[in-house]
């Protein structure tokens, strides 16, 4: 099962790699007139999807009464971080000017870039401490630290809503997904307190 989850997490990257390979061999063939922009958005979309998927695992485990699902959370969370890093790299290469100055300018002048970068920055220590060894070393503090993922998720949704120009549909769908997860958690914690 673990290998299936890993392969699922890697499959968008494999699809992108396939498109990129064909695009490089025959420019314009797979990713349209502005392939850099297409790559940036593809990676960004999958970052937020994996982030919300990782957040969904504990809800699913409760709702389906399958606590063993929790062990897949790390893989999915790391996938979110990985896609996020690639998203930032592609943004740097294709949409920001490709120089350090242009990136600093974007971070200081464009709040939605700052918000997205903050989300990724928050995910970084979570990715580093995702190993079992760090989990044991940090003990109860590990759980508190990893609650930061809720902040990262909220920032990621603000990022996507803020950059929307044409349609708010995506931002609303991801926002609804996030709100649903929060509602389930509130409900679950209320119930466990009563019991």
């Amino acid at each position: 099962m673990g290998i299936v989850v890993t392969l699922l997490c890697l499959s968008p990257l494999a699809l992108l790699g396939y498109d990129v390979a064909l695009e490089v061999m025959a420019p314009g063939s797979r990713l349209g007139a502005d392939p850099g922009e297409a790559v940036v958005h593809f990676l960004g979309e999958w970052t937020i999807r994996f982030l919300l998927a990782a957040l969904s695992i504990s809800s699913l485990a409760r709702v389906l009464r399958r606590p063993r699902l929790i062990r897949h959370r790390r893989t999915i969370g790391l996938a979110a971080f990985g896609y996020g890093v690639l998203h930032l790299c592609a943004y740097f290469a294709y949409l920001s000017g490709g120089t350090l100055g242009s990136l600093v300018g974007d971070l200081s002048e464009r709040p939605y870039i700052f918000v997205g970068a903050s989300a990724l920055l928050i995910l970084t220590p979570l990715a580093i401490t995702s190993t079992r060894r760090w989990q044991q070393r940090l003990g109860p503090r590990w759980k508190r630290l990893h609650r930061l993922v809720y902040v990262a998720g909220a920032l990621a949704i603000v990022h996507i809503a803020w950059l929307a120009k044409a349609s708010y549909l995506d931002a609303m769908l991801y926002g609804a997904w996030y709100a649903g997860l929060m509602a389930e958690r509130a409900w679950a914690s209320g119930r466990s307190r009563r019991v």
Binding site: V20, E23, V24, P27, G28, L31, G32, A33, D34, P35, G36, E37, V39, A93, Y94, L95, G97, G98, S102, G105, D106, E109, R110, Y112, W162, L163, A164, K165, A166, S167, Y168, L169, M172
Partner: protein
């Protein structure tokens, strides 16, 4: 060169064999083409912003083909001596068509170079005899939800019908044209058939597509993107690398087609490189304020 060949072919070959004899346009080739390489036609036809047909760049090419563009008429209204509903044929009849190869700079920081076919906008406006009160021109795009899936979306960031406008002296500038074709052919539907505006020194959203109404007004028209996000999209919207869009830089642009290995990035020029011709229109204006 290619356009000269098209003219020759159009002049020599009889229209027999064409389903639509109007499909072949006769036009004078651009006598002063820019040094920029023309964007491949396939890209100009596949990468479009036309939100009435959807917000993705490939939506218009996919969804616009069901649009009915024949018959087509244009309502002329407002501060003119000759208002009325004009058939497209009557709008076009007196105007000799010419090719204009223009840079097109989108506010989203990508650009193309497109060989349009059209005629000066000012020549048309003068035919309707604007009154002394006419200071602006307002254009409206067709709004026909049953043929426009994007216009039915409840998540749209803009309201329809799409409205754009120019100051009258901008509209009279010889670089401002109404286009009926591109790349030697009639306009594809996704590019704004059958009649669109092209104002090369302004961001692309000013160059309104599929026009059904032209209204001369005394007051500045309330234009679609300006109403949607006034701090991001000004009424003037002249291409200006010195004034960034609040969410992205306007200093450079991606000339399409771009590629993954060598992103085709170049500096954006004031007035999209047409400053010599048009800067005088804005001589006493603060272009940071009037972005």
């Amino acid at each position: 060169m290619a356009s000269a060949a098209t003219v020759a072919a159009g002049a020599l070959l009889p229209a027999i064999g064409h389903a639509n004899p109007l499909a072949q346009l006769n036009f004078r080739p651009d006598s002063n083409p820019p040094a920029d390489a023309v964007t491949p036609q396939a890209i100009a036809m596949a990468y479009n912003n036309f939100y009435e047909f959807g917000t993705a760049k490939d939506d218009p090419a996919a969804n616009a083909q069901r649009l009915t563009i024949d018959p087509w008429s244009v309502e002329v209204a407002g501060e003119v001596a000759k208002p009325g509903l004009y058939a497209l044929e009557d709008i076009l009849k007196p105007h000799a068509l010419e090719e204009r190869i223009y840079r097109l700079r989108c506010v989203e920081a990508w650009s193309m170079v497109v060989p349009w076919i059209g005629f000066p906008l000012g020549d048309l406006i003068k035919r309707f005899e604007p009154t002394g009160d006419a200071k602006y021109v307002e254009f409206t795009t067709l709004y026909r939800p049953e043929e426009m899936p994007g216009a039915r979306s409840i998540f749209s960031g803009i309201r329809f019908p799409y409205v754009e406008g120019l100051r009258l002296d901008e509209a009279y500038h010889p670089l401002a044209i109404l286009a009926v074709g591109m790349y030697g052919d009639r306009l594809p539907k996704q590019n704004g058939a059958p009649l669109r505006l092209v104002v090369p020194w302004k961001y692309g959203f000013k160059s309104i597509k599929s026009i059904v109404k032209i209204r001369l007004t005394a007051r500045q028209p309330r234009t679609t993107w300006n109403l949607s996000a006034p701090q991001e999209y000004g009424f003037y919207a002249n291409v200006n690398p010195a004034v960034d869009h609040p969410r992205w830089s306007q200093k450079t642009e991606r000339r399409l087609p771009s590629s993954l290995l060598r992103p085709n990035r170049m500096d954006t020029l004031p007035f999209n490189g047409y400053g010599e011709e048009v800067a005088s229109l804005y001589a006493d204006m603060n272009l940071r304020k009037n972005y």
